[in-house]
């Protein structure tokens, strides 16, 4: 295995985060903090409990998940799209690195950045809202699993995209609505029965539900199903990436 190659890609991508600290870290932390202030402290104090959890604390797992998904996709898609755009991808393609090593480098760095960001957001939330973490190991595992899965998804988007517009389409037009409709701000039990059924087709519901269970021990869906669905999405992303590298789709002509 070319570990030096993996390390080179990983270090290069992490260096980009430190270079763009305002955009990579400060910006998502500030925007998520605004949610905590508005929905947690201001409006939340006037709302009742959900499943016995204070509303401000209830929305924390969903908001952390929102940032985690958006940043994982954005970091990984940008990471692989930029070398394609600038032409420096020639170096990666001509290097003695396997597909697995390329993915480890790019996706590993993107997931690391997202996990760091998720932890910073959680710490920031503490300044506005009181919350507990009942299962910290599960919480961290969900954080890492989601970051890796959606970084893989972002990697696929980065390879598929042939312009900056396409890089933005999926996170803004698909992921954001799915997160907002996936139980970030409410329990799906609060929806009419028909909408509860429809909501189950939203994969983000399983992520938020499982993540919330790690915090408070309550969830809309059994935690085992949440883990299973996340693993299924991970497997789908890995299959897509295997196909991309096998065929050279948008990488090798």
């Amino acid at each position: 295995m070319n570990l030096y190659g993996v390390r080179a890609i990983y270090k290069f991508e992490m260096a980009r985060m430190w270079r763009t600290l305002m955009q990579s870290v400060a910006s998502p932390v500030i925007s998520t903090s605004l949610y905590f202030v508005v929905f947690g402290s201001a409006i939340g104090s006037r709302m009742g409990n959900i499943d016995g959890i204070d509303y401000g604390a209830f929305i924390i797992p969903g908001l952390v998940m929102l940032s985690l998904l958006m940043q994982s996709i954005s970091n990984a898609s940008f990471g692989i799209y930029m070398p394609k755009f600038s032409g420096t991808i020639y170096e990666v393609l001509s290097a003695p690195v396997s597909y697995v090593e390329v993915v480890l480098g790019y996706v590993g760095a993107a997931a690391t950045k997202s996990v760091i960001l998720g932890i910073i957001i959680l710490l920031t939330a503490r300044m506005f809202v009181d919350y507990t973490i009942l299962h910290p190991i599960w919480m961290f595992s969900f954080l890492v699993l989601t970051a890796v899965t959606f970084s893989l998804f972002g990697f696929i988007i980065g390879i598929w995209a042939d312009g900056f517009e396409k890089l933005q389409i999926v996170p803004l037009m698909i992921v954001t609505p799915l997160v907002f409709l996936g139980g970030t701000f409410y329990s799906i039990d609060m929806l009419p029965e028909v909408w509860q059924t429809i909501t189950l087709f939203n994969p983000v519901v399983y992520l938020i539900s499982g993540f919330r269970w790690a915090f408070y021990g309550v969830s809309d869906i059994h935690v085992g199903i949440s883990v299973g669905m996340t693993m299924a999405f991970l497997a789908a992303c890995l299959t897509a990436i295997w196909y991309i590298f096998k065929t050279g789709y948008r990488l090798r002509s």
């Binding site: 070319n2 030096y4 190659g5 390390r7 080179a8 890609i9 270090k11 290069f12 260096a15 980009r16 270079r19 600038s86 032409g87 420096t88 020639y90 170096e91 990666v92 393609l93 001509s94 290097a95 003695p96 690195v97 396997s98 050279g248 090798r252 002509s253």
Partner: protein, 306 residues
């Protein structure tokens, strides 16, 4: 001796149906400078890209440093350094970081003393902490070369390395290439500057419409296909070429003061001696004579337009 690059029956057809390479067979020897010449779109970059792993081949076999580029891609690619045609660089990285990145990517452990040597050799040492975006085009070209040399490759591909660089830098690069060859590096060069190939190459390959039409030792090529020209400046102008000389490959200048005789390099001087005797017999006097050999450029133009 095993060739450093071996290409057998290589074909490449792109998805749109365009056949870029047709049954290419080529061997490049260890430690030589091989110049691959051809007009735009002839297939030079496609051939290089396949050998380096950037483009997939359709069929055929390619080996680099004795390793198959598909089944033993790690060994094959680790032996190759590539300087591509375009200036593809990371704008925000420093020179040191980007060159170190390339070394790591190619599976080599950090070796700061080697990176330092490469940067010094390419006059980049003073710029090592500069961001690439702040460098001139010529400096960026040097950075591309430094990246390609960072992992100490035994084969170096230079795809149009001196395109758009000034004369001084071009001369510097020629010196550097000669230095690399002296250290045993095999160099494959594509260039539009035929003068460059003439100056540096040991062997020349010409590719046209996806086919290798010629591979020849440069000196032999010049001797075989090169032409020589003898110009005789006459004392008195002629109105026409004398009848005794019309069968010779000879031309008369418009003002009648110059006779131009063209002959093969291999013919040596036999034809010249005969011509001069004939002129003496005809009483045609000349005040000066000049000879010149055709350049590789003229040979190349003749080949690709055949």
């Amino acid at each position: 001796m095993q060739p450093d690059i071996s290409v057998k029956h290589l074909n490449k057809t792109y998805a749109g149906g365009f056949q870029a390479l047709k049954d290419i067979n080529l061997e490049i020897r260890r430690g030589e400078i091989f110049a691959l010449l051809g007009p735009n779109g002839a297939g030079k970059t496609t051939l290089i890209s396949i050998i380096c792993g950037i483009v997939n081949k359709t069929s055929g076999e390619v080996k680099a440093a004795g390793h198959d580029i598909v089944s033993e891609y790690r060994e094959a690619r680790a032996s190759i350094g590539l300087v591509p045609q375009e200036l593809n660089t990371d704008s925000f990285e420093t020179v040191w970081d980007t060159v170190s990145f390339s070394r790591g990517l190619f599976g080599k452990p950090p070796k700061p003393e080697h990176i330092e040597k490469v940067l010094r050799d390419l006059s980049l040492w003073d710029k090592r902490n500069n961001r690439i975006m702040s460098l001139s085009g010529g400096m960026k070209r040097r950075v591309m070369i430094a990246k390609a040399l960072s992992h100490e490759p035994r084969i170096l591909f230079l795809d149009e390395p001196t395109a758009g660089v000034d004369v001084e830098l071009r001369r510097d690069m020629w010196e550097m290439v000669r230095g690399l060859r002296a250290n045993g590096v095999t160099i494959i060069l594509t260039t539009h500057y035929i003068e460059e190939a003439e100056e540096m190459a040991d062997r020349i390959g010409v590719i046209r419409q996806g086919q290798i039409i010629l591979v020849e030792d440069k000196d032999q090529l010049m001797a075989k296909l090169g032409k020589k020209e003898l110009r005789l400046l006459l004392q008195q102008p002629l109105e026409a070429i004398p009848g005794e000389l019309v069968l010779e490959p000879i031309e008369l200048s418009e003002d009648g003061y110059e006779l131009i005789y063209t002959f093969d390099s291999q013919q040596q001087q036999a034809g010249v001696a005969r011509l001069l005797r004939q002129l003496g017999d005809l009483g045609i006097e000349y005040r000066d004579l000049q000879t010149r050999e055709s350049s590789l450029e003229e040979i190349f133009v003749g080949l690709v337009h055949e």
